[in-house]
Amino acid sequence: MRGSMGIIKAVQLVHEYIRRDEEGNVESISTALDHVSLDVEPGEFIAILGHNGSGKSTLAKHINALLMPGEGTLWVDGRDTSEEENIFPVRQTAGMVFQNPDNQIIASVVEEDVGFGPENIGVPTDEIWQRVEESLKAVGMLKYRHHSPNKLSGGQKQRVAIAGVVAMQPKCIVLDEPTAMLDPNGRADVIRTAHELNRKKGVTIILITHYMEEVVDADRVFVMDQGKIVMQGTPREIFSQVGKLKEYRLDVPQVTILADLLRQSGVNVPVGVLRREELVDAILKAAQIA
């Protein structure tokens, strides 16, 4: 079975949050994942976009076996997440970074926090040190190893959290809105770190976000709305549908909107402009012709 499918494969995944009153009677049911299917190849950089409440965080928790499918199946590296004995292997294969940097750092010293995961999975001491050093180096936080997390900036804390996951040597890392609480500098650092891990270590990345400018360099983008995957494709394919993106309450970058507006006004610019340089080139070209 293993090897015949992608590192993450979901088939008709359903998750419902059931609210019960004090007597245990069902008060309301909300469907957070509504028959979601997706297949991620090892080494891919995937972005999942969606507004708050679109179901993207629920999907993330499934990939880490923190939630179990209500219906459908999810395989992580060939392992069915609904089977009890797969829980720890799955969590080790697909590491997870959460939104709030403060609430996921356990230790009072950076290096000890990075060592927490390896400790849990029984890595021998010497190897833990090795892994901690490598992971902190990979996220560019090695010189802060003896610091207290409380004195780091949000972006730095988030990179420590990533190092903590990297130290468990996962094949895949799920980042659940890792930049939502950061300032622009911190955001850029975190996204750059994710790309580096993907490029240099071949780690599959699943980046969940609502900032569109963060997905420009992804291999594939999924857009979620009301628990469903409503769009998927390369960033360019996705960015070319400005109207649809706005419908899904997403924030299209200024250059993409501008390019779209110019095209509507008859200026010859390509569809789905992602970067500023592209638009500059396109406009200059249009100017030459004119």
């Binding site: 928790k61 880490n64 923190l66 720890f88 969590r91 080790q92 590491g95 997870m96 959460f98 709030n100 403060d102 609430n103 996921q104 750092i105 356990i106 230790a107 009072s108 010293v109 290096e111 000890e112 060592g115 927490f116 995961g117 390896p118 400790e119 849990n120 999975i121 029984g122 890595v123 021998p124 001491t125 833990i128 040190w129 901690v132 003896h146 610091h147 207290s148 997390p149 409380n150 004195k151 903590g164 996951v165 468990m168």
Partner: protein
């Protein structure tokens, strides 16, 4: 910056003292405190002083960090000193109104102040050179035998280290919520006790909500990193005694023997 007030007030440096096993440091601190309360005579005082200075020098912690702890108990020291100064019976040297100062009083006051100072400095060295986590590790390992009789030592130690990490965050949060409610006109100062308690509700409810939310998040983050209790866990910084730890044990015992010997044979001046 409230986050700077950490309970452990760890001072990062690379010194022999920093590298000592926390169990050694716990044990030595305990012995040192006991020695402070049983020494007699100038020779013993000298030994305690030399020992303290030597350890401070070895620790590479700047002295100004040490005396920070002293500031907090300045008042306590003053009161103890004054009590001893005025209330020790004996031959009066100076008398005014109902007060009299005796030679014994001066000696007692001086000794008390010295004891308290050394006590604070001694424990500060431990907290300044040991991370809170090492400290809980030390306690965990020292108390591990208790787990055989059903005491959840690992769980308690884990709780302690998490508390140590989150207390500064919650202190900061308290400050933030307090300010936010003050911006909405809340008053945390005036009124009688009952009113004051009632006035704390706008502070306490959000604080609890936040603490629970954090606990929830943290539990999930720990689970995601494969935490499943103490079973099968390895340690990044396992406690293993090394040559320097054995040497430290030897030194503290020698020191303690010296104090006891002084107590028996070198009590001058009484």
């Amino acid at each position: 910056m409230l986050r700077d007030i950490t309970l452990g007030q760890y001072y990062p440096a690379d010194s022999v003292i920093h590298r000592l096993d926390p169990r050694v440091k716990l044990f030595c601190t305990m012995i040192y405190i006991i020695s402070l309360f049983c020494f007699r005579g100038v020779a013993a005082l000298g030994a305690a002083t030399v020992f303290l200075i030597a350890v401070i020098r070895l620790s590479h912690v700047p002295f100004r960090f040490m005396i920070k702890g002293l500031r907090a108990i300045l008042i306590l020291m003053l009161i103890t000193g004054l009590f001893n100064l005025f209330l020790t019976p004996g031959e009066p040297i100076v008398t005014f109104w109902v007060f009299k100062i005796t030679a014994e009083g001066i000696a007692n006051a001086a000794i008390m102040v010295i004891r308290l100072t050394y006590l604070i400095l001694g424990t500060s060295i431990m907290t300044l050179t040991t991370t809170p986590n090492q400290l809980t590790d030390g306690l965990e390992k020292s108390l591990m035998p208790l787990s055989r009789i059903g005491v959840p030592v690992h769980v308690v130690a884990m709780m302690m280290s998490i508390a140590l990490r989150f207390i500064p965050i919650l202190i900061e949060e308290t400050d933030k919520i307090m300010k936010a409610q003050m911006a909405r006109g809340a008053d945390f100062e005036s009124g009688n006790l009952f009113k004051k308690v009632k006035n704390m509700i706008p502070l306490l409810v959000p604080l609890f909500v936040s603490a629970f939310r954090r606990a929830d998040d943290l539990a999930m983050a720990m689970e995601a990193r494969c935490y499943h209790g103490g079973e099968g866990r390895t340690k990044m910084k396992p406690l293993r005694y090394e040559g320097r730890d054995r040497l430290a044990y030897l030194l503290i015992l020698l020191y303690f023997a010296l104090i006891l010997l002084c107590r028996k044979f070198l009590r001058w001046p009484q």
